[in-house]
Amino acid sequence: KMAAAAAGSLRRAGWRLHLTLLASLSVLRCQLSVPQRALQASAVLRRVSDEQHKEPLASSSQQHFDSHPTDQQPEQEPQGPRPSSTGQGGQESEDYESEEQLQHRILTAALEFVPEHGWTAEAIAEGAKTLGLSAASAGMFRNDGSELILHFVSQCNTKLTELLEQEQKQVQLGEAEKKPLDQFLRDAVEARLRMLIPYIEKWPQALSVLLLPHNIPASLSLLTSMIDDIWHYAGDQSTDFNWYTRRAVLTGVYNTTELVMMQDSSPDFEDTWRFLENRVTDAMNMGNTANKVQSTGEALVQGLMGAAVTVSNAETRR
C-alpha cells in the first residue's frame, strides 16, 4: 500500500518534469504573476503599502527571486519578501519580531519532527512546542504542510547558494582549482540533493504537495531560481537562447535525479550519483548536437539569401 502511495507521488512528481520543461521554455517569470506563498501573503501586502512601491504586487514578489545584487551578497532568508533591493521597506525594529519571522522560527523548529510525523500540522505543533509556544500555533498554517515544505526547500536553496559562493571565493583566492563544467554541475546537484537525505522517507509526500495547483507558482519559482543560481556560479554568461536551453536541461537533470533518489536503496545513494553523472554527460553532449542543428539552419538561410541576392543583382543589371 505504501509502495502504491509512493508510486502515485512519484508519478505526479514526474509531471513536474513536464511542467518545468514547458515553463522553462515559456516566458516564465513574467507569467508567474503573483507567486502566492501562503506564508507571505499578508506580509507582502503590508510591505507593499509601506514602501509606496509604484510597481504592482506582481513584480514586488517577483523581484524577490531575482534579488542578487551585483555585489553578490549571499541570500540570507529568501523566503521573506525582500523589498530590500528597492529600499527601506521592511526594516523591522529590533525589539519586535514580525509574524513572519516567528513563522520561520516555528517551521525551522518543526523540521526536526518531520521524519517522525511527516510534513504535517503535527510536526509544526511539535516544533511550536519546542519554542515554548502552544501547539495551537500550528493553526497559523495550512493543513497540508505546504508552508513547511516550501520553507524547507527555500532553506536548502539558501544553503546551496552559500556553499557555491564559498567555493567561488576559494577559487578566486587560489585556494582551490576551478572545476570543469560537468564536475561543477554534478557536485552542485549532488550537494543540493543530499540535503534531502534526513527527510528522504517523507520526501515523496512533499513532492506531491509541491505539485498541488496552489503551490506550483511558489515551488516552480524556487526550482528555477535554484537552477539559475547553479548556472550563475558555473560561470554561465549566455545572453542568447542558450540561457533557456541550459536551464531547461539542468532542471531536467535535477528532477530526474531526484526521482531516482527516491527509489534508490544503494549504499550512500551511489546509484543515484552514477545516474547523475550519466545525465550530466548527456547534457554536455547535447550542446554539440544543438550546434550542428544550428549550423545547418544557418547554411540553409544563407543559401536562400544567396538566391535572393542573385535575383536582385540580375534585376538591377537589366
Binding site: D66, S67, H232, V309
Partner: protein
C-alpha cells in the same frame, strides 16, 4: 535605498532585444547590398551596432537579467526586414535604417527619463551607458 530591480531588468532585456534585432537588420542588409557601393557604409553602421550589443550583453551578465525568450524570432524577423528593405534598393535600405535608429533613439530617451525621474544618482552607471 537600492535600485528598482524589475525596472532595470525590463530595460536591459528590451534594449538587448532591440540591439540584437538591429544587428540582424544590418546583417540582412549586408547579405543583399554587401557587394554594392553602399556596402562599406552599411558595414560601418553594423560595426557600431555590434558595439552596442556587446554593451548590453555585458550589462545582462552583470545584472543577471534573462534574455527575452523571443530572441529566435528577432533573429529571423530582423534579418528578413534588413534583407527585404535592401532588396528595394539602397534608398529602401537607408530608409529602414533611419526609421530604426529614430525609434531606438526615442525609446532610449524615454528610458533615460524614467530612470532620471526615479533617481539619477542610483542609476548613474546605467545612464552613462545611454
Amino acid at each position: 535605498g537600492g535600485i528598482n530591480k524589475p525596472v532595470i531588468e525590463r530595460i536591459i532585456r528590451v534594449d538587448h532585444a532591440g540591439e540584437y534585432g538591429a544587428n540582424r537588420i544590418y546583417a540582412g542588409q549586408m547579405a543583399v547590398l554587401g557587394r554594392s557601393s553602399v556596402g562599406p557604409v552599411i558595414q560601418q553602421m553594423w560595426n557600431q551596432e555590434k558595439d552596442h550589443l556587446k554593451k548590453f550583453n555585458d550589462l545582462m551578465v552583470a545584472y543577471r537579467v534573462r534574455p527575452t525568450v523571443l530572441l529566435p524570432f528577432w533573429n529571423v524577423a530582423g534579418f528578413v526586414l534588413g534583407a527585404g528593405s535592401a532588396l528595394l534598393g539602397r534608398k529602401g535600405a537607408m530608409a529602414c535604417t533611419v526609421a530604426v535608429e529614430e525609434s531606438i533613439s526615442d525609446h532610449y530617451n524615454s528610458q533615460i527619463r524614467t530612470l532620471v525621474e526615479e533617481d539619477p544618482e542610483k542609476y548613474k552607471e546605467l545612464l552613462q551607458v545611454f
